[in-house]
C-alpha cells in the first residue's frame, strides 16, 4: 500500500499538507498509517496500547472485498456509500480527512491493492470514488 501510494507523484502533491496518523480498520484488523507531507511513512498493525490516531476509518470485514471489486455493486462503491449503508464508519477528528478528502479517498483506493491490483487501478482512476 505504502509503495503504491508513494509512487504516485500526483497523490503526494495533493497530500503535501497532510501530517498525521490515522487508523484503517477492516473487520477486527486495524493498521496505524503514518503520513508525512503526503507520503506514507509507516503502516503498523494494531493494537498498540495507548497509541493515538487522528481519525479512524472502519469497514466491515464482509464489505471490504465488495469495495475492492473492480466494479463494486451499488452501495459498496464509495466510502460514504458504505457509511450510509451502515457497513463503514469514520470517527475521530475528521477535519483533516474532509480538508483532504480526495487525497484520503485515493489513499483508501491504494489499500485495496492488497486484495486486487486491478480494483486498485480502477479506483485510482476514479480517484477512490
Amino acid at each position: 500500500m505504502a509503495e503504491r501510494a508513494n509512487g504516485d507523484v500526483g497523490l503526494i502533491r495533493r497530500g503535501r499538507f497532510v501530517d498525521l496518523e490515522f487508523m484503517l480498520q477492516i473487520g477486527d484488523q486495524g493498521h496505524y498509517i503514518r503520513i508525512d507531507k503526503g507520503r506514507l511513512t509507516s503502516v503498523t498493525p494494531s493494537p498498540l496500547l495507548l497509541r493515538p490516531w487522528t481519525f479512524a476509518i472502519h469497514i466491515d470485514a464482509a464489505a471490504w472485498p465488495q469495495f475492492c471489486q473492480k466494479m463494486p455493486r451499488p452501495g459498496y462503491h464509495d466510502i460514504f456509500a458504505m457509511c450510509k449503508l451502515g457497513v463503514a464508519r469514520i470517527d475521530g477528528d475528521i477535519n483533516p480527512f474532509m480538508a483532504n478528502l480526495r487525497y484520503f479517498k485515493e489513499v483508501l483506493a491504494k489499500a485495496t491493492s492488497s486484495t486486487s491490483s486491478a480494483a486498485a487501478s480502477a479506483k485510482e482512476a476514479a480517484h477512490g470514488r
Binding site: 462503491h77 480538508a99 478528502l101
Partner: protein, 281 residues
Amino acid sequence: MVVKIEPATGRYMQLNIQGRQNRVYFEEAGRGIPLLCLHTAGADGSQYRHLLNDPGITRDYRVIAFDMPWHGKSLPPVGYHLEEYKLTTELYVDTVMAVCRGLELEKPVIMGCSMGGRIVLQLALSHGKDLRAVIGLEGADHQEPWYDTEWLHRPDVHGGEVSAALVSGLVAPQSPDEYRWETLWGYLQSGPGIFKGDLYFYRADSDYRDRVADIDTTQCPVYLLTGEYDFSCTPEDTLRTAARIKGAQATIMEGLGHFPMSEDPEQFRTYIMPVLDQIRG
C-alpha cells in the same frame, strides 16, 4: 470557419425574480417542444451540453439549459455579499417559472436532476396545467439528510474541493473518466456556499411526501429516472415516490449514478430517448 462550432448558443437574460433583478445565462439548441433543463445543486447548466448537441433530440425539442442565479455564468443579485444564499421551494419555483415566462415557453417539458428532480414534482403540482410533462432525474419527494453540510462552507476547508470529492462517490464506477471529471469540475468551481445553500432547499424545505399524491398525471405526466449507483437519491426513494403518484413512470438506470446526463451521456441516452419519444407522441 476552421474550428468546429457547436450548435448551442449561449445568451443572457435580465430576469426579475421576487422583485430582484438577475442576470441569468442560458444555452439553447433545436426547435420544437421546449425542454427546460435544471442542473443539480452547486453546479450549472453545462451538465446538459450533451443533450444540447444531440441532433436526435434537438430535431424535435428546443433544449434550454440555464444557470440558476448564483451559479455558473449567472451572477448573484446585487447585495449578495451581505446575505447567506439559501434556496427555498418558493424561490426555486419562482425562478423556473420566471424563465418560462421570460422566454415565452409554451407548455414546456421540464427536466431536472437531483434538486431539479425534486422541484419538478412541486412544479407538476402547482403549475401542471402549464406544462407538457416533467422528468425527474435522481428525484424523489424527500430524502433524510445523511451528512453534515457545514463541511461545505467553512474557512479551513476548500468548499469546491470537498464538494467535488464528496459527490465523486455519486458517479457510477462505470462512467467514463473524462465525463466523471467534467461533472466534478462543476463542483470544483462552484461559488462559496452555493452547494450548501442549494442543499437547504433539498434537505430542509422540500419535503413533498404529503402532497405528491395530488399530482394529476393526466394533466402533467411524470417520469422519474434514477441511477442504480445513486446513494443520495436512491432507487428506493424514487420508486417510493412514484408509487405515491398515480400514473407516474419510474425507471432505474443501470450503470449510472447521480449525474446521468453528464457522467455518461451515451448510457443516459438509452434511457431518456424513449421518454422523450413518448412525450412527443
